[in-house]
């Protein structure tokens, strides 16, 4: 049993906060896309330099291509394009953040990787409603660290939206007449 001492404020919610699942700190990998963004470090497998990209024709514009990650064909998403930010050429500082989202492994192309930081969960605020649009629920909040603002991304939501969008469009007019043979 943990001992509960009355907080100086004496308010019930200040006690209850100790019982919610929220960790005291968020461990983030931050990177730059003009602004500073962050993703949970547990979703980051590794960070690699950009090279050997093979473009995938007829794929969504934000798919930069695929790279060979030690024998694995890894799709790389251009995060700027995905978040509808202005284009920027790949530079020496550009990196691919290899993320593990559920069972998927996906690379995110970013301008540069900055740091691994710890943000106290108390320093995270919801993103101001005015800046959020209907389809931007993958921005989970804004972390404040010293004088920096870190926009926090929920990759699972980002990807879920992806699957919905690509799933709806279908792949062309080809239609297979249903067969009379039932599958057994």
């Amino acid at each position: 049993m943990t001992e509960i001492s009355l907080p100086p404020s004496g308010l019930a919610e200040d006690i209850l906060v100790n019982f919610t699942e929220q960790p005291a700190e968020l461990h983030l990998v931050t990177f730059s896309l003009g602004e500073e963004y962050g993703v949970p470090i547990r979703q980051v497998r590794e960070i690699v330099r950009v090279g050997g990209l093979t473009i995938i024709p007829n794929s969504p514009a934000y798919i930069e291509g695929v790279i060979n990650l030690r024998g694995r064909v890894l799709p790389v998403m251009n995060l700027r394009r995905r978040l509808r930010l202005p284009e920027k050429d790949i530079s020496k500082a550009s990196r691919i953040i290899v993320t593990e989202i559920g069972a998927k492994v996906i690379g995110l192309l970013v301008d540069a990787v900055s740091h691994v930081v710890r943000v106290p969960s108390g320093a995270v605020e919801d993103a101001p409603e005015e800046v959020l649009e209907v389809d931007t629920d993958y921005i989970t909040g804004v972390g404040k660290l010293n004088n920096r603002l870190i926009i926090m991304l929920d990759l699972e939501r980002l990807l879920k939206r992806e699957q919905l969008e690509t799933g709806e469009s279908g792949d062309g007019p080809q239609q297979i007449p249903s067969s009379i043979f039932e599958r057994r």
Binding site: T54, I56, P57, N58, T166, G172
Partner: protein, 558 residues
Amino acid sequence: MDYDALVRDFLDDADCHLNVLDSALISLEQNGHDPEVVRQTLGALHTLKGNSGMMGYESFKNYIHLTEELLKKISDGDADRQLPELINILGDGANIIRNALQGIGKDNSSNPDLSENLRSLRRYIDGAEYSAVKPAVDPDAYLGVRTDTIKVDFTRLDALLDLVGELVIFKTRLGQLEGRIQAELFSKPLAKELNESLELMGKTVSGLQEGIMRARMLPVSHVFNRFPKMVRDIAASHGKEIRLVFEGEDTELDKTVIDELGEPLIHIIRNAIDHGIEAPGERRAKGKDGTGTLTLSAVQESNYVIIRVKDDGRGINLERVREIGISRGLISDEDPLDSQGASSLIFAAGFTTKREVDDISGRGIGLDVVHKKISQLNGRVTADSSPDRGTTFTIKLPLSLAIIPALMAEAGGEVYAIPMSAVDENIRADENDIHMINNREVISFREKVMPVIRLDEFFGLGRAQRKGCYMVIIGKADKKLAVAVDRLRGQQEIVIKPLDDTFGKPRGIAGASILGNGRIVLILDVMSFWSNEAADFTTPGLKRKQPGAVSPRPETGT
């Protein structure tokens, strides 16, 4: 399969089933009655009984049957018999089975005679006291049959093949490095030594690759054996008499291909029975044997397996195919139709719909599904027919799905791999060879007019300024397409890796492969080129006497 091997397989299998019985008895003894245990054991015994019957071990089979009955008494809760007593007698039964199996193992021409045991067990089941000598068991018999086969989880073989795939890639890479080293260390002994070791390693890698591929293979009889019963039933329901003949059923194919092969074959076979082979009366009137013959054959040709489904029925009804083709808008009524054109038409998507199933007198039910499936396996399917002589469907499949030969082609500055199974041939061409018909680019080759797909444009890579190019002729059944590429880079074996489908399936791409230099190349999905064509260029495979004289038709596309 020779008899020795058959007996060995039987014994291997019987040993497993006997083990199930043994462990069940122990479990029942320790934990009391458990319906699930009894159910599983009954299943094992039932299989063993069936196998024994097939092997002609009549007395043995009957004994298993009684053992089953006795076991059922446990689940039925026979009031007169106590569980321990039943377990004891079943234990004796297991030993009797064990001894019989050992006997067969020692002399595979023997046929165990269990008539005495049969009688005493029968009497017991009918209510008498059990009176039989306890069978003496040779301790060796508990060891079971020494087997030559092991069961391996297929995912393990998959993992091994993956590793071998990597190895093949690294081998190619080392080979390229070696070339560079050779160039720099010209004729130095060190370079020679490197060359020799690489050659040796290359051989070992090839051997390993072949070994793993072989380990994953199953005879096509695995699929074929599902059909005799089906053919019999369908034939009976249609009032037809059909003899099913297998040829080359021990030809082997990768298990992943075997697993996918059943469905397309069922379609073709059903078609042959429904529409190909005539009713006995009609056959006799034509002077044919009243019983039709359906032949399923398999043969290996280099890296491919050819599977044929041949019937001696009425053949494809050209007129009917033509009518349907016209009514579906697949061909225009000015188009002549020869048997080759017809057989390509029946595979077209949209050729058949449910409505025609009942009144169609030719064939062509779900054949587009067959075509799609076979193409997914990197194979090809064609049909060949002559009136009243019958129809033959030919399926050509690569031995393996994981490592395939591919033609490397460059377009728009990128390299693409085209599965060799789709490639007919490749030719050099220049812009003068390309003509326009109905706003489509076509090329005439070997008296066939076929549409041209410029790969760079298809993939939105921008059109290169060039004078000459190469045309890779790819064939879908009898339809052909010419894929225009800038350069050919030769043939090589590639290891297929799937593309992540999170972002949808990119049109025209079937997968990816990693080359020796670490670069990723994309593998073309040749199938999708036709679905692109189907909408606005509908008769690419049909012969036209004067390609230029075809009157423009309104676009039927989307």
